[in-house]
């Protein structure tokens, strides 16, 4: 007998469906939707989803199971998964475990069999909703609604601190290739320190491919400790939550900017670099979560199809003179990338590391290498 699950939104909507993943679990978080049609395993393991319950709009999820390779961290960070239909079979030559087991292993609940399109419509119209997802058979609608409404929301939450690594480590694994898996990097040329605000492994893999000797440091690592490592460049990672309260990171970034060390930020890293440069950020209505977002490179006019996953955005009108917009979303015109005019620093709101999503903006990683080369040349 399949057990039931309940999803309650702060606006009072309640969905009843079937439970999967971890049973007997109740969780709260911000309910968001992601329109990617592939890559659920990468999404679940992306630390940027901490404190969020993810709705996948594509109805069949779990079709290709899960495997050892397609993970972006060592955990499932999303608080829960909401889908229309859980596949009754995992069919892929790389699959090692069904999705439901994968969720259960990390004690995360899932709900299926609900009208996810209706849920998406609600989020679109009312904004991302605080919600409660429970696979506890004893959970009542009333209690679930109370829990949903009791969730404080992500605005003002510093989550980077919670998902970051607790110790410094090195990274040497490069990109995935069919039939070979992840290939260890062959050479190291650039000394890169990567701040982990909730970093996705594919960022590290793409840096490794490009000859970066990578040292990953915790989110709160003071600037001086990093500068002592004598980096050719510093990478600011993606991550969950509101960038505003991460003042420790903004302080560190300001020092790096003052020193003129090449900087590359992605997503939360982009917001932090912008804040450190004097711009402002704001919470979006329901954010960008998907793999089909067109982003225009303002200078070349080229359009990239990008993966996106953010609930906060940098307000373009707040940019100081030395921070130039480089990319804009063609969906809603929001700012998607900036660069400093005075120092070698740039950042991108979307996810050039993809995983999941299109690889179109990967040349941004090459740009980072170019900046480091110029920096070294100058020195």
């Amino acid at each position: 007998m399949v057990s039931s699950a309940i999803l309650a939104l702060a606006d009072g909507t309640v969905f009843k469906g079937k439970a999967f993943g971890a049973l007997d679990v109740t969780t709260v978080g911000e309910v968001v939707f992601n329109t990617s049609m592939t890559g659920y395993q990468e999404i679940l393991t992306d630390p940027s989803y901490a404190s969020q319950i993810v709705t996948l709009t594509y109805p069949h999820i779990g079709n290709y199971g899960t495997n050892e390779e397609d993970v972006e961290s060592s955990n499932i960070w999303a608080m829960g998964l909401i889908i229309r239909d859980l596949s009754c079979i995992a069919s892929n030559f790389r699959s090692s475990s069904p999705l439901s087991d994968f969720l259960a292993k990390y004690r995360k609940p899932g709900i299926c069999g609900i009208d996810t399109r209706m849920l998406t419509r609600i989020i679109r119209e009312k904004g991302a909703q605080n919600g409660c997802l429970s696979t506890d058979p004893k959970m009542t609608e009333k209690k679930a609604l109370e829990l949903a409404r009791a969730f404080a929301g992500i605005k003002g939450m510093d989550l980077a601190k919670e998902v970051t690594t607790d110790k410094i480590y090195n990274w040497t694994e490069g990109s995935w290739e069919l039939g070979q898996g992840y290939i260890d990097q062959a050479r190291t040329e650039w000394n890169v320190v990567a701040y982990d605000f909730g970093i996705k492994r594919n960022i590290l893999r793409l840096l490794a491919d490009r000859g970066c000797k990578i040292t990953v440091v915790p989110a709160t690592t003071p600037a001086q400790n990093v500068i002592k490592m004598n980096p050719d460049g510093i990478f600011l990672s993606n991550g969950p939550g509101d960038p505003e309260p991460c003042t420790y990171a903004q302080d560190a970034i300001r020092e790096f900017l003052n020193k003129g060390i090449p900087l590359f930020g992605i997503c939360l890293g982009h917001q932090l670099m912008s804040l450190a440069s004097g711009a402002k950020t704001a919470k979006m209505k329901f954010g960008h979560h998907g793999a089909n977002h067109p982003v225009k490179d303002i200078q070349s006019g080229r359009v990239f199809i990008t993966a996106q996953n953010h609930g906060f955005a940098v307000d373009e009108t707040s940019l100081p003179d030395n921070l130039k917009p480089t990319h804009r979303s063609l969906f809603d015109g929001t700012l998607q990338g900036v660069e400093r005019t005075d120092v070698p620093a740039f950042s991108f709101q979307g996810h050039p590391e993809a995983s999941p999503g299109p690889h179109d903006p990967q040349p941004l990683f090459d740009h980072f290498i170019d900046l480091m080369r110029a920096y070294r040349h100058k020195a």
Partner: protein, 1072 residues
């Protein structure tokens, strides 16, 4: 950067007649292209020989040429119209080949015409297998191990490299014509010989076999700035080895991880860039080894295709429209996404939140003796697409949308038969048209997913989904409808079970299931196809049904009309009916109605989301239409334009209170019901061939004696002459009857005296209950006995006297009034010795409506649609028949080459897939043009083989003399030889097959004849002469199977069909 301003006039090439592998998806793309470019202010000149298309409507392009798509003809059009550019990517392989010919012969250079969309070199690189393989190697992508051969010797060389089994494909043929899989040297040789002949470049590609690999497609669009997007990924349920057009396909891809998907996405884009498709849409096909994920590129099409039409319908992203705009210089980000009301740009990738399933429709029953197994050569004649929130739902909707008598996974196998299991294994391993149902049967008898996978190589994901459906069916065994509660009912419906299927499973009726369902408050909800998975709001009403919580139909309070479409194309019901539906929708929209289209055919213009105010992409079945009518509450529903599909529903819809407009269902029935119709005929004092009805063989034999042979026999209620035959004696009749009862479902068999040597006539008319206007009178070229859908015909008539014509008009008017026709009517008559016989009347849109409309300029379907909404003919100013001062000939195209082993003899059963039109001042030139357009150009030199039936011998001497005068060398079989010889015609005798060697077959095979004229009658004679026709077909010798057609061709011999070109607008201007 905005559009180009250095271009003013653009020439668009259409795809020509509907053939297997190239169907009305190119009308859809061409229509979009015309509209898109005119919207931008360009002058559009269109060439397409197919009059049944929407794109050749005179107001779609600035100048429209319904002329043969042959470079020599197109040259004259270029000379006359001075286009600046030619867009060859909208008309399938036909347009690409023609554009390449124009380029090769220096025409484009001579007149300074630029090829836009795809350059000649890119087309060549994509189509030339050797260059393509090299290009793929260059960018590090794998192709299957393969080689090219231009001769049998070379072919054997390649075979040694790739091994058995291997796949053979001739270059530059559409739908993979002539290709096949060879498992042994014998098969290899036979496929290669045929393929070398069929390929215009005499080139074969021989591939390593990837049978059983998974097959995927990606639809890519690229712009001038190198922005690339994937519009849609498609996964084939049927693995490699079955042509993608014959495969069940699903969008989006279901079984790829993101890593694998992105590899494929990158590869697809790399292919476009390397091949050099600068702007527009292309389709890239991939094979994936299911065990290792190894990916190979199968092929790419540097143009819009059947798959891109499917992808457009599946996603709501109009690929052809966008491709046309990119071709004139726009970039993707400069173009809006219609569906979101231009709030977002076209530079994005559609996100789906539903599953789309496409299932092909086959017509093997019309080609007995042909191989009905699915191979790399496409054989399906149509397709149905269904949208559901889950695969199970979309799959089951597609199955019932096919209209092959299935309401879902109905059992196919006779489980009691002793060889059931053997048959099942065979059907699973060697896919035919019904494999999907055999998969269901396999689960029913307890086979496991792995066992079925071993035989079919269908991915286990799909198999498991089907297994669940069958498990549910099995669990319903012994249950009653009453025991199904609301929750279970909702779950069953959400999985796509139709009311009818549930009724069968629960041993009750569809009506009772519906009543029960409604009493449980279980209704479908309608969701929108919005390109963005609900991320943005949409005002575009492109909808599909599902069973969920929230309904997005949001019906309006406007006056609205529902037009029911024709479902999947099949022989006998194709693009012509879609044309009528589209016209109805267009004109009623113009009149201020909200128009609502219901159809499930992804190839068509009718299922373009911006043709009607609202589009329900749904199966055209009673259940689905009733639910839409319940939600929309229309003022009227039009059933007479979509062919038999909606017509069949008329009575039941009416009984459920749905307002049918136009001729009433009772009157429609009256015309179909023999007895009722007889009363009308008697009252009007019309002549009919002597006829009778029989429900048993004994009765048939007796009735036949009474009427006298030869007879036309057929089951009642059929379209396209299914199982219609001419019988010459009792033995023929007995033989036929055994088979007819099978196809007619216990309904009676009709017997009519066969009017041999009569001229057959089609009349299309429109009536409003008070007045009747004749749309056109068409004289068939072939004599009576050839299905009107397979006959060529001429408008106005070429041989009829004014007196006969007047009588035809009077009879038609009388019939229309007597049958209370409100809308369209088609009458078929025969003229013999100045007597007119009525053959049949159909108070509905006929296949000939678009042809008549193009020939006369009177848009019959539009006029009829207005009549149905209460606007009289007088009110519309439609008062008199238009008789054009020029002749239009309709000629058909037949698919025999795709069905090796079938007999290409024309008969009362329709088998043509499409039509062309030729127009000229007089009939002979128009006929010659039509023949050229149908790709059967008239033979003017060489040796002719004549072998004609007894009853044709009185006209044989005349024929022989004419041929002799025109310089042909004549050879004939015994009887024909004797007649010709006696008449003093110079002729040589040749042996029939059983008369010793060398015989006619030896001569055909050795290429001795340029033209075969063979007529035959009677069961035995047909069988005896079958090899002659089959071989003429196989060795691509021109053949004619009626004497009238031979005479028409002779009349046309002095004409130059390449020279004179007339635009439709010029022709219509000549009408006073």
């Amino acid at each position: 950067m905005p559009k180009r301003t250095d271009i003013k006039t653009i020439l668009i090439l259409g795809a020509g007649p509907i053939v297997i592998g190239q169907a009305c998806e190119f009308d859809y793309s061409g229509t979009q292209a015309c509209r898109a470019l005119r919207e931008e202010g360009y002058r559009v000149v269109l060439v397409n020989s197919n009059p049944a298309t929407i794109m050749t409507d005179p107001d779609l392009a600035d100048v429209t040429y319904i002329e043969p798509i042959h470079w020599r003809v197109v040259e004259h059009i270029i000379e006359k119209e001075h286009p600046d550019a030619i867009l060859p990517t909208m008309g399938g392989q036909t347009a690409l080949n023609c554009a390449l010919d124009l380029d090769k012969h220096g025409i484009l250079a001579k007149y300074g015409v630029e090829m836009i969309g795809a350059k000649a070199d890119a087309i060549d690189k994509a189509e030339n297998r050797e260059r393509f393989d090299q290009a793929m190697k260059k960018i590090g992508l794998e192709c299957p191990r393969a080689g090219i051969a231009h001769s049998m010797d070379e072919a054997w060389g390649v075979q040694k490299k790739v091994g058995f089994p291997c796949i053979i494909r001739p270059s530059f043929t559409m739908g993979g014509t002539g290709g096949g899989i060879a498992y042994n040297p014998e098969e290899f040789e036979s496929i290669c010989i045929k393929g070398l002949e069929l390929s215009p470049t005499h080139e074969l590609l021989i591939d390593e076999s990837l049978i059983g690999w998974k097959e995927f497609e990606m639809e890519v669009v690229r712009d001038r700035k190198d922005n690339c997007i994937i519009v849609c990924s498609i996964e084939n349920l049927d693995p490699m080895g079955i042509h993608t057009g014959d495969s069940i396909t699903v969008a989006p891809a279901q079984t790829l991880t993101d890593k694998e998907y992105q590899l494929m996405r990158n590869a697809a884009m790399a292919v476009l860039r390397e091949i050099g498709v600068e702007t527009g849409g292309s389709n890239v096909q991939f094979g994936i080894n299911p065990d290792t994920g190894r990916m190979v590129i199968i092929e790419m099409n540097p143009r819009v295709s059947r798959s891109s039409a499917l992808a457009s319908k599946a996603t709501g992203f109009p690929i052809a429209k966008i491709a046309a705009k990119l071709a004139v210089g726009y970039t993707l980000d400069e173009l809006g996404n219609d569906i979101t009301g231009d709030k977002t740009p076209a530079s994005f990738e559609p996100a789906l939140d539903y599953v789309v399933t496409k299932v092909p429709r086959f017509n093997f029953e019309k080609f007995p003796n042909s191989d009905d197994r699915l191979t790399t050569q496409m054989k399906s004649v149509g397709e149905v697409m269904a949208i559901g929130r889950t695969f199970q739902e979309s799959m089951q909707k597609a199955l019932r949308g096919l209209e092959t008598g299935k309401s879902g996974f109905d059992p196919r196998l006779n489980m009691d038969s002793p060889d059931a299991r053997t048959k099942l294994m065979h059907e699973l391993e060697n896919a035919g048209a019904h494999r999907i149902w055999y998969v269901g049967d396999a689960f029913r008898i307890g086979m496991t997913v792995d066992e079925i996978f071993a035989l079919t190589k269908i991915d286990r994901w799909f198999l498991t989904q089907i297994k669940e459906i069958i498990d549910i069916e099995t669990s319903l065994e012994g249950r009653t409808l009453k025991s199904v509660d609301a929750d279970e009912m909702r779950d069953l419906k959400a999985r796509g079970f139709s009311d009818l299927r549930l009724a069968t499973l629960l041993h009750t009726t569809e009506d009772k299931v519906r009543a029960r369902r409604w009493s449980h408050d279980v209704y479908p909800t309608y969701k929108r196809v919005d390109t963005c998975a609900a991320e943005f709001a949409t005002s575009t009403a492109y909808m599909y049904s599902t069973y969920e919580q929230e309904c997005e139909a949001n019906p309006t309070n406007r006056r609205k009309i529902i037009v029911l479409g024709g479902g999947p194309n099949r022989i006998g019901q194709g693009i012509e009916f879609d044309y009528c539906c589209v016209h109805a929708s267009m004109v009623l929209r113009e009149d201020g109605f909200e128009t609502i289209m219901v159809n499930c055919n992804p190839e068509t213009v009718s299922t373009d989301y911006d043709i009607s105010d609202r589009l329900y992409f749904e199966p055209v079945t009673l259940e689905d239409v009733l639910e839409i009518a319940r939600v929309e509450k229309p003022e009227g529903v039009i059933v007479q334009f979509g062919g038999q599909t909606p017509l069949k529903l008329a009575r039941k819809l009416e009984a459920e209170g749905v307002p049918i407009i136009g001729t009433s269902p009772a009157d429609i029935d009256r015309a179909e019901d023999r007895k009722l119709f007889q009363e009308v005929v008697n009252r009007l004092k019309l002549l009919q061939p002597k006829n009778g009805t029989a429900t048993s063989l004994a009765q048939a034999v007796a009735t036949a004696k009474d009427i006298g042979y030869p007879l036309v026999v057929r089951p009642s209620y059929v379209l396209g002459g299914r199982a219609m035959e001419v019988v010459y004696d009792e033995e023929d009749l007995r033989h036929y009857f055994a088979e007819a009862v099978k196809v007619s479902n216990r309904s009676p068999v009709l017997l009519d005296k066969f009017l041999d040597h009569a001229i057959e006539i089609d009349v299309d008319a429109v009536a409003d209950g008070t007045d009747v206007v004749i749309g056109g009178i068409m004289e068939h070229v072939e004599e009576c006995g050839v299905h009107s859908g397979d006959a060529s015909c001429v408008l106005p008539p070429w041989h009829l006297s004014d007196a006969i014509k007047q009588q035809l008009v009077k009879i038609s008017i009388d019939l229309a009034l007597a049958l209370n026709v409100k809308g369209l009517m088609n009458v078929q008559l025969a003229v013999r010795e100045d007597k007119i016989y009525l053959i049949e009347v159909n108070p509905r849109a006929a296949r000939t409506v678009p042809f008549v409309s193009k020939a006369t300029g009177l848009p019959l379907a539009k006029v009829a649609a207005r009549v149905m909404t209460g606007r009289s003919l007088k009110e519309q100013g439609i008062t008199k028949q238009i008789i054009p001062p020029y002749y239009s000939v309709k000629e058909v195209v037949l698919p025999f080459a795709k069905f090796p082993g079938s007999d290409p003899l024309l008969g009362p059963e329709m088998r043509s897939t499409g039509e062309v039109m030729g127009t000229a001042k007089l009939f002979p030139e128009a006929f010659a043009k039509a023949e050229l357009a149908a790709n059967c150009p008239i033979e003017r030199t060489g040796t002719i083989l004549l072998s004609v039936k007894k009853s044709d011998k009185d006209r044989l001497a005349k024929l022989g003399k004419l041929l002799e005068q025109h310089g042909f060398v004549l050879e004939a079989t015994t009887g024909t030889y004797n007649t010709l010889h006696e008449a003093g015609v110079k002729v040589k005798h040749v042996n029939k097959v059983y008369e010793g060697r060398p015989n006619i077959l030896d001569y055909i095979k050795s290429g001795r004849y340029s033209w075969v004229i063979n007529t035959t009658e009677g069961r035995q004679s047909v069988i005896d002469s079958r090899e002659l026709r089959r071989n003429a077909l196989r060795y691509a010798v021109a053949y004619t199977t009626t004497l009238n057609a031979a005479f028409a061709a002779i009349e046309a011999l002095p004409e130059d069909e390449y020279h004179n070109v007339h635009s439709l607008q010029e022709l219509h201007a000549m009408i006073k």
